[in-house]
């Protein structure tokens, strides 16, 4: 199975998603975690149940990835770290495609097995947060 395929310039949506990912990473790099606005909000799910939600720790993970502290990122939230890395990778690849790279990642069919795997990954991330104690 091919991992990359030949492709032209990035689509509007590829550009939009790259800009969004970069904006989130830039915000995570610039905004301090211990000052408003990021320091002010608390997870309502955790407040109500004392358990973390699926995305607890993602802010810390994005901030850590933006500062290139990958171990801290995965420790805060493996899911958040993966999403942040995916944002960075997509943005970098989109820039390369804008510069003339004629390849794009190959798409894949989202089968039932893939969906089941994704659900298992989400559940595994949540168990990690519960056991590890989300930041």
């Amino acid at each position: 199975m091919k991992c990359v395929v030949r492709a032209g310039p990035p689509s509007v949506h590829a550009l939009g998603l790259a800009a969004t990912g970069l904006s989130l990473l830039a915000a995570a790099a610039v905004l301090p975690l211990d000052a408003p606005p990021l320091s002010l909000f608390a997870c309502p799910f955790r407040a109500a149940t004392s358990f973390p939600c699926l995305t607890c720790g993602c802010t810390h993970a994005f901030a850590a990835v933006a500062r290139l502290r990958f171990a801290d990122a995965f420790s805060a939230s493996p899911l958040g770290a993966l999403v942040a890395l995916a944002c960075a990778a997509h943005a970098a690849w989109t820039v390369l495609r804008l510069c003339g790279l004629g390849y794009a990642p190959a798409g894949f069919a989202v089968t039932g097995r893939v969906r089941l795997g994704a659900a298992a990954v989400l559940a595994g991330n949540w168990v990690f947060l519960v056991l590890h104690g989300a930041p």
Partner: protein, 268 residues
């Protein structure tokens, strides 16, 4: 010439043959030398997806195209979402950014310069008790800056925040739809639903109750939009829209906090 994407099955117009990206789903494809002929199916698809008034603003005019789109999406959403073209991502982005940014900015300005004493009184009352009291006080304190610099910053940040929020919302909704097996026609279909469904956020121009009403209306319209653009059942569309709100509690809160604070000025 007309071509059809083998991934999302969407038809689109293209000027050239050979390798290129599908304008709807972004996946690469090859348009053969002999383009796909116009069949009855293509004609039917073309008549269904003739474009929303906003996508036909070149012939209708900017104001009329925008206004008819707003009226349709609010009162005949099924018809509007059925007519949306999936290869008009840039136009849909423009519609959402224009439709949300301007009222949101107006609402913030009204709140800051006309209704501040009243909202401050409400925040003081709410912040006097309850677990979120200190939080509300700090939010209120961060929104005190009414200087021209803060106003300019808000004006500049609003479209960017709307764009980021639009794509983040579409991406999360699409991932949920994929996991639930409801994403039948690619990201472009989810994006079209999210972009046009943001029309009720016009109500953010009304300080106070406008934002919550607009948000709930937007969620409902997003579900209607997913149903029509992906050609899926109502239950699946509702699940794809609601699952992220149920599971991604923190993400929704962070985005809301960032948006709120950015629009209230630079936090101290």
């Amino acid at each position: 010439m007309l071509a059809r994407c083998p991934s999302c099955r969407n038809t689109f117009e293209t000027e050239r043959t050979g390798p290129q990206d599908c304008p709807s789903c972004g996946k690469p494809l090859v348009v053969p030398e002999a383009a796909v002929p116009s069949t009855t199916q293509l004609a039917t698809a073309a008549s269904e997806e003739q474009g929303t008034p906003w996508e036909r603003r070149a012939e209708l005019g900017l104001w009329r195209g925008w206004w008819e789109t707003i009226v349709q999406v609010l009162f005949e959403p099924g018809r509007l979402f059925r007519s949306a073209r999936l290869d008009r991502g840039a136009a849909q982005t423009g519609f959402a950014v224009l439709t949300v940014s301007v009222p949101w900015f107006v609402g913030q300005m009204l709140d800051r310069f006309l209704l501040r004493p009243w909202t401050q009184h409400m925040i003081d009352k709410l912040g006097a008790s309850g677990p979120f009291g200190p939080l509300l006080q700090k939010i209120a304190a961060a929104g005190q800056d009414n200087s021209p610099g803060a106003t300019l910053l808000i004006a500049l940040l609003t479209p960017l925040l709307v764009l980021v929020g639009l794509y983040a919302n579409a991406a999360v909704t699409h991932v949920a739809a994929l996991l639930l097996g409801q994403a039948k026609r690619g990201f472009a279909a989810t994006f079209a639903a999210c972009a046009y469904a943001s029309a009720p956020l016009l109500l953010t121009a009304l300080p106070g109750c406008g934002a919550p009403i607009g948000t709930v209306w937007t969620i409902v319209l997003t579900a209607v939009g997913l149903k029509e653009t992906h050609r899926i059942a109502s239950g699946g569309a509702a699940a794809a829209v609601l699952v992220p709100y149920a599971l991604l509690c923190c993400a929704v809160c962070v985005l809301a906090a960032l948006g709120g604070f950015a629009l209230r000025g630079v936090p101290s």
